[in-house]
């Protein structure tokens, strides 16, 4: 009898929840968000989600979308693994009926979602964080985009920073063992060696371990001038910095975007003073990041030192632009509109100027979107053509130093 009961309860639960989501469905425009709220990347997912919510708020506060409808965001959790991510994406598409999705973060989830759900379903997918080169070459019929630049750009800038500005001849790299770390590492090694430098060690680390002392020891072996660290704050980056300092393995560092966070200096300000890092940023003249910071802090309090909050804001915003342009929520129409609406020589729209954007679209104008992460422009492959900035630690804070336009 018990099995019957469980069965019945299960089925009721499933259908009640299915139908509730149906009943409350008003006349809204839906965009799905597919981010990890649990599992390995949970600490990024939460804030990424805030980025999308902020975009939603701006759009709805300024009269909504497609003639006054509300923008609705439907979120599912990828649990940072492809099985649940793919399932979640399919729920978004089939059950919630979205035709555009922001997500996922790691390429290991984004790619299978694209291949098995969104591309065949003709749904537009914009990843705010997946940097894998595979996304560039994916056979996606143009349905996959990203608002984060691919790794190679930043790698070149970081390597040039090391050899030209900082005059390092010997560099050790420690990178997180995933596609993000791997990609940056490869690009950095190539460029640094081209510049005539020597990479003394290039070591991958497993994320989320408690001790990286042996990796650090190996990296420090041939007395390199500095450590170039490719990591996120929470998956081991901070641990590596602290253990490097504590044990005196390194006193000079170069960081990449995943570590562009005041958090890394907490408690170790005096040791990191004057260190440099790189990160995708806005073009000279744009002030998207500043506006974004203000808006975010008004809404959610202090902006956390995490990457991809801005890029997920941008992903949501440009999707809204494309929907407005297309005049419908049809996936194919959104895809085509994304290519048409954005242009480098278009009229400037800031991230809090949704009304202006709508007017421009109505007037048939193209838009130069000065996004939260910098201007968003897609190339043929759906990749973002951003700029890379150099940042610096000054008085324990992170300040932008210069912008390298590529």
């Amino acid at each position: 009898m018990f099995k019957k009961r469980i069965f019945v309860v299960m089925m009721i639960l499933m259908f009640v929840s299915l139908s509730i989501s149906g009943v409350f469905a008003q006349d809204t425009v839906k965009i799905g968000t597919l981010v990890p709220m649990t599992g390995g990347l949970a600490s990024y997912g939460q804030f990424t989600r805030n980025g999308t919510l902020l975009a939603q708020k701006i759009i709805n506060d300024q009269g909504g979308i497609l003639g006054g409808k509300k923008l609705e965001l439907v979120n599912v959790d990828t649990q940072t693994n492809p099985q649940s991510g793919v399932d979640g994406a399919q729920k978004l598409v089939s059950v919630s009926g979205v035709n555009a999705i922001v997500g996922a973060l790691s390429s290991g989830v984004t790619i299978p979602v694209a291949e098995s759900v969104t591309v065949p379903g003709e749904v537009v997918l914009i990843s705010p964080a997946s940097t894998s080169p595979i996304l560039t070459t994916l056979d996606d019929n143009g349905y996959v985009f990203r608002t984060v630049p691919s790794d190679s750009l930043q790698g070149v800038v970081a390597a040039n920073l090391a050899s030209n500005r900082l005059d390092y001849d010997k560099l050790a790299i420690i990178y997180v063992n995933n596609d993000y770390g791997q990609g940056l590492n490869d690009a950095i090694v190539e460029q640094f060696e081209k510049n005539g430098g020597e990479i003394t060690a290039s070591i991958a680390f497993e994320p989320n371990k408690v001790s990286y002392r042996s990796e650090l020891m190996e990296a420090a072996k041939d007395s390199p001038d500095a450590l170039l660290l490719v990591a996120y704050t929470d998956d081991g980056g901070i641990t590596i910095i602290r253990q490097a300092l504590e044990n005196g393995y390194f006193d000079k560092f170069i960081f990449t975007d995943g570590l562009k966070a005041p958090e890394i200096t907490e408690g170790v300000e005096q040791y990191l003073e004057g260190m440099y890092g790189t990160a995708p940023t806005s073009m000279p003249g744009g002030n998207g990041p500043e506006i974004f910071k203000n808006l975010y802090e008004k809404e959610f309090g202090e902006i956390p030192p995490k990457p991809y909050i801005d890029t997920s804001f941008d992903a949501t915003f440009v999707l809204a632009l494309a929907i407005e342009k297309a005049g419908s929520t049809d996936g194919t129409a959104i895809r085509d509109a994304l290519g048409e609406v954005l242009s480098e020589d278009g009229m400037v729209v800031n991230i809090n100027e949704w009304n202006k954007a709508k007017d421009l679209i109505k007037a048939g104008q193209k838009i130069r979107y000065e996004g939260a992460s910098g201007p968003v422009l897609f190339n043929q492959a759906g990749d973002s053509m951003g700029a890379i900035g150099i940042w610096k630690i000054k008085d324990g804070d992170i300040v932008n130093d210069s912008v390298e336009v590529q």
């Binding site: 469905a25 399932d87 089939s94 989830v109 790619i111 694209a114 596609d179 990609g183």
Partner: protein, 315 residues
């Protein structure tokens, strides 16, 4: 939300359930019938996925192969390589106490994951293998998932049939007798280790095929897919919930568990956006609680052990 949407999600849901059901049937062969404690399913899954990917993708500089072989050969190769792996693992470990075998297999599964993560020549490392062909995808267009579901159902049917057939054969009876009274079977002059090994290898073959199905369905695999929670323990939960040593129970266990796993999302999705993080953690807690309730109230699983034909074969 449309009826069509629900239907297409249902198809999708059943495909995933089906892939997990293949794993559960395979585990039932090893655990339910032969009493083998394999908690390294992720390893066989990964080996199956990667084998089929390497076999069926076009030649690539990024990983071993590809050999551009047809889908069916990919499935077969996936099963065979996984079976071979099981054989090699089994030689030293199959005679160990059951929990030792378990710990050995989980260790090996983690080592396999590290290898595919770090050996780029073989598996393209952390970047994974993309573009794994979907059979007949070119012809079928929008209704592709229905076709894939048919493939999955077909494979489940084959495995189910063979598994039932096998377990009712003299071979299966010896197997069950070993699980019940190993000493008696040994005394009857049967080579216990050989029977166990056969069940282990057969189960691994099925896991390999299941892994291949997963690879072809998602079209992309990377080491992230083969972590112990989703690839091993979830399958165990399915088996235990359905009832060990019962093929039908395995299928229902897969359906119900995956239903809970994904269905709880609809529940927590109703919480306001500000609580998304809490909702997601809450959801996993809910899954855990569901599992414990079922274990406590029906430790033998929903269906319990099926009574198969007379249990001993005195030959």
């Amino acid at each position: 939300m449309t009826l069509g949407g629900i239907f297409s999600y249902l198809v999708f849901f059943l495909i995933f359930t089906g892939i997990y059901a293949v794993m559960t049937l395979a585990l039932n062969m090893q655990r339910g019938f032969a009493g083998l404690f394999n908690i390294g399913i992720a390893g066989f899954w990964a080996v199956g996925s990667y084998t089929s990917a390497i076999m069926t993708t076009p030649p690539s500089a990024e990983h071993l192969g590809g050999y551009n072989l047809p889908f069916v050969l990919g499935l077969l190769a996936a099963g065979l390589v996984a079976a071979l792996l099981a054989f090699l693992i089994g030689i030293p470990t199959i005679k160990l106490r059951e929990d030792y075998l378990g710990i050995a297999t989980i260790g090996i599964a983690e080592i396999i994951r590290l290898v595919i993560k770090n050996e780029e020549w073989l598996s393209n490392g952390v970047r994974g293998i993309a573009g794994i062909p979907k059979p007949m995808a070119g012809f079928l267009g929008h209704n592709y998932n229905i076709f894939f579901l048919l493939i999955v159902v077909l494979i489940i049917a084959i495995f189910f049939y063979l598994s039932e057939k096998g377990i009712n054969s003299p071979w299966g009876r010896v197997l069950r007798a070993i699980r019940e009274e190993e000493e008696v079977v040994k005394a009857a002059g049967k080579n216990v280790v050989r029977y166990r090994m056969e069940a282990f290898v057969l189960g691994a073959f099925m896991m390999g095929v299941g892994g291949a199905l997963y690879a072809h369905f998602t079209s992309f695999i990377s080491p992230e897919a083969f972590k112990p929670m989703q690839a091993t323990f979830l399958v165990w939960i399915m088996l235990i919930i359905g009832g060990s040593a019962n093929n039908f129970g395995s299928l229902v266990g897969a359906l119900l568990t995956w239903g809970i796993w994904t269905g709880t999302e609809f529940l927590t999705g109703m919480l306001p956006a500000a609580y998304t993080t809490q909702a997601s953690a809450l959801r996993v807690i809910l899954i855990g609680v569901f599992l414990e309730i079922i274990l406590l109230s029906r430790p033998q699983g929903l269906f319990g052990e099926k009574k198969y034909s007379a249990s001993s074969s005195k030959s």
